[in-house]
């Protein structure tokens, strides 16, 4: 699967996060800091592995401060891919 624009990636991240949070994808606010989404560190790490497996993009959630948003992460991941 190739994801080329943040606009494509954000809904996919919302869906992946929603699966682990017990929410509908639309309920995951892409502009809210990830630390406010309520993931424990173990679940966050497994979520990152699942995102890598399903979407082919590498997130390192352990490196985050928690203040990042999904929209910001999507942009950063794609910028990293292009560099």
């Amino acid at each position: 699967m190739s994801v080329t624009a943040a606009a494509d990636l954000v809904p996919r991240l919302q869906e992946a996060f929603a699966g682990y949070l017990g929410l509908e994808p639309a309920e995951v606010d892409p502009d809210r800091p990830v630390e406010e989404l309520g993931l424990d560190s173990l679940t966050a790490a497994q979520l990152a592995l699942d995102i890598e497996e399903r979407l082919g993009v590498s997130l390192f959630l352990n490196d985050l401060t928690g203040r990042e948003t999904l929209a910001g992460l999507a942009a950063a991941v794609l910028a990293e891919d292009r560099s």
């Binding site: 017990g22 560190s41 173990l42 679940t43 790490a45 497994q46 592995l49 590498s58 352990n62």
Partner: protein, 555 residues
């Protein structure tokens, strides 16, 4: 010879038993007398390690693809049990080596795999899994050791402490900060420039006095470009995945120690006479030790299912290995405590019965609930995963449970390169689903089954009712339910092949009653207790490992 469950995964363990000899005999190749003497001197049992090397135990740490004999983990579990019944120092040394080797098999480069295979098959070398630090034990995120890019490779800086085999390891796998995140790095301590990898002084401990526990200090230690295991940045995930294999083997270590504790207590109960009869004839003594036998059977069912799941249901082992690591050491430490109650003053002597080995077993077994993640860490891992299951919007694909318990066919061989880092799985606990949340009939299970099913339903309702984080008490409750489900599965998968004393399923009813009663209920129902006690004593008399499936010990 009674016709009983023939488990092919036990063949290598039988052969190893014969090679090591009866440890109760002072002239055996590996004897309790010699092991106690090494313990007294706080030195490694070099002769016992040599006997293990000579038999070829290291080949069982090397997958077949690299010239070894490691196939399924139920076979390795049996080997761990027979070595551990002699001395946990042996399996701790080998286990630390396995911890370092597993990530290399799974995520290393071919030349690293060939190198580790040579070290193990040729020299019977030791390895170190260098994860913990003075200020970073269970919290991997606190890791301060760094591997910074430098030239074509890396410079490793930092100190790893409380590391197994640190004074003697020929290879190590260390957790270090990298860009991005954390990675596992492969190190050859003897192949780096002098002074850049220092072995720290040995650490003195309560038990395992012959174990080489220490640390490794890296000072700008240069590593080649290929030292970081791929994918870089997934070191924490790889470390947690690796621990799923070794945690399952820790259950085997605890079972081995518990076997010796019960064997000593039963032998003493037979020979010690008070009030004109052997103390084993006193109902309270027999019930205490029957309870120990049940604890071993429960622990074995949990450990065997977890070991088979490593290749039959790898997605589930993030949960099941943590449960096994929590449940089995707890049970086995209780076996040691109850055996001490029967051995009474003899349990406290460093001489006498079996060369005074009991006090060593009791000190050593305490490590099984501490290393590879403490009991609180296991409960936290279990709680996080139960939360994932409760919140999952789409249930994962189910796992068929019959093969997990079927001891007549070995589990499939491990395929290391196909192993993905995986530290959670919202797929649930299929064993609990089938046996305690389903309504499959099992008349032999007795009245405890209904009570356990009520608890399983109650726990599920509590977990799905709200989205609060799951607490450790819920994780603990899940552990007891999983253990009961493992007993039910092992019974169902093997009932036609069990020993005559076990064929009626009385042991199953008693194990479930023990789990439903929180564990401390003495078996007070004689019609159930009598055949199980006969089974236990026959295993003692015929020299078999205390087990559902017979494994003949050296005589």
């Amino acid at each position: 010879m009674t016709v009983t469950c023939e488990a092919p995964a036990l063949a290598a363990a039988r052969d190893l038993e014969r090679a090591l000899g009866d440890p109760f005999r002072a002239d055996a190749p590996v004897s309790f007398a010699a092991l106690v003497a090494h313990d007294e001197r706080e030195e490694p049992p070099a002769d016992a390690f040599a006997a293990l090397r000579a038999w070829g135990v290291h080949a069982h740490l090397v997958p077949r693809a690299w010239g070894g004999r490691l196939a399924s983990f139920d076979e390795l579990l049996a080997l761990v049990r027979v070595v551990s019944r002699r001395d946990l120092v042996l399996t701790t040394g080998l286990g630390s080596t396995a911890l370092a080797a597993i990530p290399v098999w799974a995520w290393g480069r071919d030349e690293q795999r060939a190198e580790v295979a040579d070290l193990l098959l040729g020299a019977g070398a030791f390895g170190s899994f260098a994860v913990s630090e003075r200020d970073a034990g269970s919290d991997f995120h606190a890791t301060a050791t760094r591997a910074d890019a430098a030239g074509d490779g890396y410079l490793l800086r930092g100190e790893k402490w409380l590391i197994g085999n640190a004074g003697r390891s020929s290879f190590a796998v260390a957790l270090a900060r990298t860009r991005p995140s954390l990675s596992l790095v492969y190190v050859r301590p003897d192949r780096v420039p002098a002074g850049t990898c220092r072995r720290l002084p040995r650490v003195r401990t309560l038990g395992l006095r012959g174990h080489d526990l220490g640390g490794l200090a890296f000072a700008d230690c240069p590593l080649p470009a290929g030292a970081v295991l791929e994918p870089a940045g997934r070191g924490l995930e790889m470390a947690l995945t690796t621990l799923q294999y070794t945690r399952t083997m820790v259950a085997g270590m605890a079972l081995g120690a518990a076997d010796t504790a019960l064997r000593l207590a039963l032998g003493w109960g037979r020979s010690r006479r008070l009030y004109g009869r052997p103390i084993l004839a006193i109902p309270a003594v027999r019930d205490l030790l029957l309870g120990s036998f049940l604890d071993i059977l429960i622990g074995e069912c949990v450990a065997m299912v977890a070991a088979r799941a490593l290749t039959l249901a790898p997605r589930r082992t993030s949960l099941w290995a943590a449960v096994a690591k929590y449940v089995v050491p707890n049970l086995c430490e209780r076996v040691a405590r109850d055996a001490a109650a029967v051995l009474s003053a003899r349990s406290y002597l460093r001489e006498g019965v079996a060369a005074g080995v009991f006090q060593k077993v009791a000190r050593d077994v305490a490590i099984t609930s501490i290393f590879e993640g403490t009991q609180l860490v296991q409960l936290a891992l279990i709680a996080a995963q139960l939360g994932q299951v409760a919140r999952a919007r789409t249930p994962g694909a189910p796992v068929a449970t019959d093969r997990l318990g079927d001891l007549s066919a070995p589990a499939p061989a491990w395929d290391p390169p196909a192993t993905r880092p995986r530290i959670g799985d919202p797929g649930g606990d299929d064993l609990v689903e089938r046996w305690l949340l389903g309504d499959e009939a099992c008349p032999e299970a007795g009245p405890a089954l209904r009570s356990l099913r009520g608890r399983a339903a109650g726990l599920r309702a509590a977990l799905t009712a709200d989205r609060r984080p799951v607490d450790l008490a819920a994780a603990r409750r899940h552990c007891a339910l999983h253990a009961a489900a493992c007993c039910l599965q092992v019974w169902r998968s093997n009932r036609e092949r069990l020993a005559p004393e076990a064929a009626g399923g009385e042991w199953l009813a008693l194990c479930l009653e023990r789990l439903a009663g929180g564990g401390d209920v003495p078996p007070d129902r004689e019609e159930l207790a009598e055949p199980v006690a006969r089974w236990m004593l026959r295993q003692l008399d015929e020299g078999e490992l205390f087990s559902v499936a017979p494994l003949e010990l050296a005589r």
